[in-house]
Symmetry: C2
Amino acid sequence: MSSALVGPQTAKRASAKRAAKESRPARSVPEATVARLPVYLHALTALADTGVRTVSSGDLARAAGVKPAQLRKDLSHLGSYGTRGVGYDVVNLAAQIGLRVGDSQPWPVIIVGLGNLGRALANYAGFRSRGFPVVALVDAAPEVVGGRIEGLPITSIDDLDATVAATGATIAVIATPAEAAQRVCDQLVAAGITSILNFAATVLTVPSWVRVRKVDVGQEMQILAYHEQRKGPAGLPGAPAVAHFAEGES
Amino acid sequence: MSSALVGPQTAKRASAKRAAKESRPARSVPEATVARLPVYLHALTALADTGVRTVSSGDLARAAGVKPAQLRKDLSHLGSYGTRGVGYDVVNLAAQIGLRVGDSQPWPVIIVGLGNLGRALANYAGFRSRGFPVVALVDAAPEVVGGRIEGLPITSIDDLDATVAATGATIAVIATPAEAAQRVCDQLVAAGITSILNFAATVLTVPSWVRVRKVDVGQEMQILAYHEQRKGPAGLPGAPAVAHFAEGES
DNA sequence: GCTTGTGAATCTGTTCACAGCA
DNA sequence: TGCTGTGAACAGATTCACAAGC
């Protein structure tokens, strides 16, 4: 589990700045930027579909819901794909971002857990269309195994190793109940999965080479509720509160 | 659109540091902390269920997947609910966080869009159990309206104003196709909704007093794919890669 | 003219390290 | 002796503002 084997950020402290300065052509895009690339790509695709050829940082930023300066800074981490005085070539920029985001190849995905959510995900068309074909459906319940969804058979969790090997998947989606999530996660990791999208309401413990992203609807709701809470007691809706400057919506 | 009336963090720009120093007892919890409160609450609830009475920042941090210092800093924004040399009282701390997260009252929720995802969400039990009863299901398609899910009737989007007024909901979930999302969003806002959880793959434009959180499965996948991309070409799995500095997984 | 790309300034969040207290 | 709570140091991300270039 959290046994040593770490060694990560070991010599990071001391070396840092000076060492990284030369020899490297500026690798690594900031994580915050990576998280926005899909948004930019989506906006660019929409623009391309409507026949727009070039777009300015201002326009693209508006479509993506960010500020122009942020967009330019983000894109600058990828390279210089714009033309001063003109803007960005929509198709070319989309291609460049697509490259980074792995659009050039399909990423086969395994879905584990076929309750309500798992089934909805298995039927979700946007999955395949975005380059993530669902190649296997896995569950533990004997009465579920053997069924089919969208023509794809549901296989047993006991055959996970074979399933992963056969499909070549490296990404998995966990849509099981919270109690089963960690166990399933361990099995996925053992089978060679290195990226996991976790819909279960649990914190997963994984080795350092495995990346997990969590989607927790309940938590999102609670974050919204936190802010609703603030509003309620303060001022009545409709009644103009005191000062306030409009926010530019992030 | 960006008219205005919030009231909170009002004169922030100009005043800043100097002014904020005195008179204010440190209001407002950082957004990053707010996003973690639900995780802490979940971990505490689990601990309480197993009968644990007190917990140290180290143990709770491990359960929540953060560092102890981070947990203490986060909790310090809420007040001093721990006991030096001992730890935190599980039940009391859970109560305090629950208070902030709005656990004390139910937050009725409306779900708009009853395709695969909407139906899965409507059936999602964890919704109600976390204090977010689904009080209305809304769709636009005539052939869907009139049906029932979990005993709840599906009403027409045309009756939205009445539905919101009747239920008193302030939070809504958008699970429509992307094309319909902005239109639905506008209608929700007009009806009085002030918090939205958006599952559609679009950036929503809303007035400043409305809060939106987005859940986009496709985007999450692309973020995972971005990192998979880095790994792939570099070294074979199993074969120790060259240099390579391990990242410290957050 | 116009818009990009980027250093510098700022803001936000995280981590350290230790004083304060049971 | 612990473990919390927190100032101070650090790191990361955002925003500003302007030089560079079409």
